[in-house]
Amino acid sequence: MATRTATSTIGSGQVGRSVRRLEGAAKVTGRAEYVHNLRLPGMLYGKIVRSTVAHGRIRAIDVGAARALPGVHRVVTIADIRAVVPEPFYGPAFHDQPILAVDKVHYVGEPVAVVLAADPHVAEAAAQLVVADYEELPAVYDEVEAMTSAAIVHDVLKPAGTFPDLKHLQGRRNTNVALDFHLRRGDVARGFAQADHVFEHTFRTQQVLHLPLEPFVTVAEAADDRLTLHTASQSPSFVRIEIARLLGWPENRVRVKVPYLGGGFGAKLYIKLEALAAALALLVRRPVKIALTMEEQFYTLTKHASTFRIKSGVKDGRITARHCEVWWNGGAYADIGPRIAQKSGFTASGPYDIENVYIDSYSLYTNLTPAGALRGFGIPQLVWAYESHTDMMARALNLDPLAFRRDNILREGRPQATGTPMQDAAIVAVLDRLATRMNWGKAFDRGTGTIRRGRGIAIGFKASISPTTSIAIVNVAADGSVTLYCSTVDMGQGSDTANAQLVAEVLDIKAESVTVVHPDTDVTPYDMATLGSRSMFHMGNAVKLAAQDARDKIAALARELGLPKGSNVPVAELFQKKYKMQAGNIIGVGSYIPAYAPPDHDTGQTPNATPFWMVGAAGAEIAVDTETGHVRVTRLVNVADVGRAVNPRIVETQLSGAAIMQLGFTLQEKIELDGGQIVNASLADYKIPSLLDIPPDMHSEVVEAEQHSGPFGAKGVGESGTFAVSPAIANAIDDAVGVRLTSLPLTAETLYRALRAAANDPLED
């Protein structure tokens, strides 16, 4: 096995080529495999009965009428589940989430029972007949209120044993704080005291949804003391380990298979339906499929709403001190929220060189649908605040927003707030390229009459999650054809194609000739998960090492066969020579884990916070209809540092796709609540961008800047396009009409009201 730092090799032209997606034909013919398509003999459909109250003690669940409906196989509550899973609590950071509600419900939509039937229509009809009786409890929905609220979501905190930095939270009571992260650098109090100007603003983001068009779906089958899960999951290895833990089984009795995903965006991580489907299959000894509806996605996982209070001291045009307080609305279960509060929290002061930094970042429980990572792992929420703040300061100081950023930007080699020196982060190059593409120094048509135009820029950065492992296997068959085994999930980002390119580059073959085996934990090796733009870097390094290992073994075989060094004998002939027939394999293995130093618990300081930095900047030109507040984005420019683009075409689609998604979160999308009840849980009322919502002029561009530790200089790109879109647009609105919006989304009504308020003629409520 090759475990070492990847080194650069001379390529064969496979990396850097816009190879068409390997699965293209399968997708355009409708034949691509999704779990959605899977039906097994004897399969039952499970329909979930969900809580109608936000916080309450379960008095009783009456399943009589549901059970009596013809065609119903079984109605299951937590008491039944406990027969097969005695301790039915799961989660990546906290073991707080039950397979079905235990004693209490913590949000509207929480699963409390399941109906099983061979006909999904019957299961659905029966689910509506289940009646649960609750004793309602006080609830809390707002993340800032949750800090001090008398309503406590969980009686006691139950962190998973896996994270040392969560240990201090074990057994805590009377708190909604699931994690408090602190960073201390320099002396902010002195910084503020010595500053010429001090600015303080508060920004908010709303609760939004991943909304993959393939909703969550899992099929479980149990046979002969083994369990197989076919699941639309971004983290098959995690699912295997967590299900094995819940069942008290060894990992090798749990098999997790993942075909293509119809989108993920961070929703389909950790355990979603898998534990429930597994328990049901074990309980009834028949295959069970649970396929959620679009509506049910709203009751499964959201993106964190957040509040960010940011305060900066400026002296002679330089930001000298920054105080950040961030509250993350984690909903009823922690999911990966605490990791977001920490891993993203430490970049809350932005890509600026600031001597004195103070960050408090809190992950909070509330009585809402749980929140998790969504294309950016918390970063878009932070950039929204610090880049709006940057522009507000520049405006107040009468400084050009670009010049103000340039004067404060975090340059290569300088320490970030954690103390980690910046390395291979093309922040300056990205900002410069954005300025060029925006024609920033040139005159700009500002509109007339009721149409006012403005432009804005913003830049953000992200530290990749760490430390995480990826393992890959490259199998060279006796005819020389090559198969890659890895557990990276292709949910649309093109990882199959990109990984094939890496293999092909090393082995000097065509990427199109490589077969990529989809995640199957019986077959493909461990990978932490497909998340946080980590795969291109982590799995990419593992894949490259595996291919190099195979290449070295091919060379060794040639030597063994007495061939001179550098001889060009085709691989198939080597096998033929050795085995006298078409037989045998060469197996190359690669395992990769980057170096990392955990942050100090009290100060957040570390010499090595992350294996790589991602940088994304956006510029927007917008037009405001001052009579209605409608904002039209006429031009949207995105620039990102992606290291080296392995597949330029796919990279560009990743950037623009991410930017458009964030455009939806900026202007359109919001989960609307009435108390704890979601009132717009459908695409009819929760509007995601369509072709008519995208700017007529969109430009996405890569600044190629070698990531020296990345495979062939590459790094992750899936999230960079989301970082800076929201503040760029808010900054452009301010530029156009002199009004500052501090809460997302920037709806027409919000802006119109702000315009009226600014004119001292507020619109009535």
Binding site: G449, E627, N680
Partner: protein, 288 residues
Amino acid sequence: MIPFELAEPASLGEAIKLLDPDDASVRPIAGGTALMLMMKAGVFRPARLVSLRAIRELSAIATQPDGSLRIGAMTPLSVLERSAAVRAHAPVITQTLRTLSNVRVRNVATVGGHLAHADPHMDLPPVLIALGAHIAAAGPAGERTIPVEALFAGYFATVLRRDELITAVMVPAQGTRRAAYLKCTTRAVHDWPALGVAVSLDRDGDSIRAAKIVISAATEKPVRLPGAEAALRGGCDDAALRRAGDAAAEEAQTISDGQGSAAYKRQLVRVYVARALAAALDRAGATH
């Protein structure tokens, strides 16, 4: 969805017999795009659906001797959209259809179903009211004619009886009248309207005759705004259009929902009524 009986009569008379004046769980189904949504959401659980799809007599578009255009109730919206007769008769209908729902829904949904559904967010009702259209409705007692303006009783409610069916829409000859429809959305460009404004007017030099101004979506049903119409009697310069907008905002009973507050929608009414009038007058600045 739960099982139900699906009846597929071949004639109008048969269909009417299959309906039940006293049973809300028996309903006619035409294209079914709206009913299916209600059934899937569990808000409508039919015992029997009476499909009108086999009734051939309901799907013709023909110009009548009096110059009006008669559109069979079972005409799919996409047929209406592409009809040369409709375009010649009232181009505003053709324009309205382009942004009405989406192509697939327009291929299946029918003009009769569109009206009978009485969702205030439908686009054609305000347009048809502005054009002075009527519907023909058939029931056990025979056929009657109802102005579209009088068809809607409230939110998702019409004046039709449960055993009455819309059979046709009649759009009178428009002569020199000009019309416009503006759809204002607030959550996405492509959405149901937060406000629909239809106007129809006859211009005589500097004055406007018999203007009709109708708003929908922002109100619980499509309504004419007589105050705004009256404000145009003084003329048709920009100031008159603004006065009409102000009068409209004054009299519109807007409602708050996910597409905006009542106060904001009043502002939209103010702006869009003036813009729709400008559009009908072919004046610049009509649309944003």
